[in-house]
């Protein structure tokens, strides 16, 4: 009886592992995509260019 219970637990473990792998794969794609997609408009304070117009008075 005990042994049967152990086996049941093992069986569930595999399902969980597979689900976890799928979740991680999907999450990876989503993270990459969101990093890629997140377009912004960025106000830069110090330009690293020699041709800085120096508009601050």
């Amino acid at each position: 009886m005990n042994r049967l219970e152990d086996r049941t637990v093992d069986w569930w473990m595999w399902i969980l592992v597979i689900i976890a792998v799928i979740v991680i794969a999907v999450a990876l794609v989503l993270v990459v995509q969101s990093r890629r997609r997140s377009g912004g408009v960025i106000a830069v304070s110090d330009i690293k260019k020699p041709s800085d117009p120096g508009s601050q008075s």
Binding site: R36, V41, I42, A43, V44, K48
Partner: protein, 189 residues
Amino acid sequence: MSLLIRASALTKKPVVTLDGEDIAQVKDVLYEGSGGSVIGFTLSGRGLFAGPKNVALPWSEVVGCGRDAVMIASDQALQEQQDLVASHDIGERNVLGARLVTDTGVDLGAVVDVIVEAADVADVVGYEVEASAALGGDARNVLIPLPDALSVSGEALMVPAAALDFVSDDLAGFGAAVDDFRASLRGEN
């Protein structure tokens, strides 16, 4: 000849060489916080699994910036991102979502987009805000013209209260509104 573009329309545009290769796509639009001139773009890769790139595209290297693509001469146009802009600026100073406040202390709303005038030199000429109560607040977006010199911080953007007289609802009449606004500022000075 110049063209008014929403910055959101620039992001995700493919960056294509004159040899017809799409080597990247636009991620962020970078502009100079005090003067408003567009410095360039950060880039990300084109594939499904491609992440952000370490190289950036300076505006001076852009051959053409149209409805469907940003054109460059070749991949030589790209520069290391740290040569173009300090890395701590990126991510901390995204103006999308920042509050737009007048110099008289009126909160106009959250910036949802930035209007760029693209010519040989590109300039940020206006902000699109989700109108707050001060602007009527009926959940519409309005375009606010900007003076030549800007004031920007991580949390808020400042505009002169006089800009409120030159607000427009769409891009069609906005170019003229910017010109009128800037002319009136010069007149006062």
